[in-house]
Amino acid sequence: MANRIRARASDRWMAYGFMLPAAVLVGCLMYWPMIDTFRESLYATSFISPAPTFVGLDTYGKVFGDETFWQVVRNSVVWTVGVVTLQNVGGLLIALLLNQRLPGQGLLRSLVLLPWVLPGVVAAILWRFMYDPQLGLINSVLMRAGFIERGIGWLADPSTAMAACIFAAFWKGFPFSTVVFLAALQNVDQEQVEAAKIDGAGAVRRLFDVVLPAILPVATTNVVLTSILTFNYFDMIYVLTRGGPLNATAIFPTRIYDVGFGEFRFGEAAAYGSLSVLVLVFFVGLLLLGQRGRAREA
């Protein structure tokens, strides 16, 4: 850091000049809308009366009194916790497997990213097809194996729809966790692993005592990052179920879209938007607190 280019006036102009276009865009198109969402939520509009009228916090009162809102909160938590857990536990296990010295690993390591590269809407259509009650492959296999007699409408039944969405999102998202975990595993100090081996620690002991503590920071980043991405993930659920049946899979992004662009109640959609930020901040805060507690115990 000592030989950092010394600040001259021309440097200052260059530094600010290079930053300016990006700063203006991020400011106008991200920070301003985030603030404006809250202002927007204080006004009411509808399809019948599109002119906004100031209603203060009334919309929030209405939203809190609506059972759908609480269902959206519950669904968002179930969806996020479900996908993030599957994605990171599965992603870590697969990364541990891919980190072994085995033939064919190079190929598998590049193939494993494919679901993540597949466009979200295409992945959702593909899974919609696999879940199809009449033509879907999953029912076909289950029927042939004799587990079921008639096709199950996985996405049409409120009791299975969320689980089906979670599994599809896991398939689409786990490669990201795997790749990040794999990079972290390759950075683990091999001398420590060898030392533990000499001390007589078995593979499982070595995993829990040496490897997992070493990748804990990456794991935390991964969990926080995937939580935020999953909480905001619109494509999968919208294409699979549109939030149905009977709102069984409605989460914040799909609800915001439905209220805003389906029913043209922009004020209420903006209220849902503001509340989604609060719920997300609360959720991530809990995660980070839990992580700090665990780090202190260790």
Binding site: A23, L111, N232, D235, G260
Partner: protein, 277 residues
């Protein structure tokens, strides 16, 4: 003897490798298989793994004029987003790695935070802005939205790469009398090429599949992008899955091809920030 114990050790792992490969690849295989199935082969349960007489007829049917239009729209919007986002991100990332002014660290924190803003929470104000500017149902509206979505991540990725470009080369150029701007274009940009490639691939993958903004900002068939067009097909086609799968293959092929050609750079870029940070 030694060979046998080695086999005994690796066999379960090889079985697991196969299980992972099937989990990852089977849905792709199924997409391809159904896309090649002629309409005359029954779709009955139990399903056939591979059609008896594979055909491209689904592809020919699916490649209709409206699909070609969606394709063109997606190429225009993704291409324009890359052309604007990557240079702007490169400038900003350069500024962030080479200089230390307070305004820059505030900006960096703002960029990191912005990556996590929910699109759902911003979409109503952005929609109103776009509407007020009379840009609804235009390429411009989508390009603006996609720059918004991709710029912070692009800055973040490029910053990781630029931090690895040794500063001594630039300093040598400065001593030789090169202006900072010259040094940037002649030295930094070529050295940062792997990072630029990785960021470009990332921005392309993100914009090629973006759905929420495209769904909300476009209303006519002429302006739909591929993801929205595909979503429209679900209702229209009913259960004509052969055509739907053929379109899916055509939509996915470009990104999968780009990804395979450039994947080494890309995986570097994806993991650099997360592992180091």
């Amino acid at each position: 003897m030694a060979r046998r114990s080695l086999l005994k050790e690796t066999l379960p792992l090889t079985v697991l490798q196969f299980a992972v490969a099937i989990l990852v690849l089977f849905p792709f295989f199924w997409m391809l298989s159904v896309s090649l199935k002629p309409a005359t082969e029954p779709f009955a349960i139990p399903a056939r793994l591979w059609p008896d007489h594979p055909t491209l007829e689904n592809y020919i049917l699916a490649f209709r004029p409206e699909f070609r239009r969606y394709f063109l729209n997606s190429i225009i919007v993704s291409g324009a987003t890359v052309l604007i986002t990557v240079p702007l991100a490169l400038l900003a990332a350069y500024s962030l790695t080479r200089y230390q002014f307070r305004a820059l660290s505030i900006f960096l924190a703002a960029v990191i935070l912005a990556q996590f803003f929910p699109a759902g929470a911003m979409i109503i104000p952005i929609y109103k802005m776009v509407k007020a500017a009379d840009l609804l149902d235009t390429y411009a509206s989508l390009i603006i939205a996609y720059i918004t979505v991709t710029l912070p991540v692009a800055i973040w990725m490029l910053r990781g790469f630029l931090a690895r470009v040794p500063r001594t080369i630039e300093e040598a150029a400065a001593i030789d009398g090169a202006r900072p701007l010259r040094a940037f274009f002649d030295i930094v940009v070529p050295l940062a090429r792997p990072g630029i490639v990785a960021t470009t691939v990332f921005v392309l993958i993100v914009t090629w599949q973006e759905f929420l903004f495209a769904l909300s900002f476009t209303s006519t068939k002429e302006m739909r992008t591929l993801p929205v067009g595909m979503n429209d097909y679900i209702g229209q086609y009913g259960i004509r899955y052969g055509e739907l799968m053929a379109s899916s293959v055509m939509v996915s092929l470009p990104v999968i091809a780009i990804f395979f050609f450039l994947q080494r750079h890309f995986v570097d870029g994806l993991t650099a920030g997360a592992v180091k940070g």
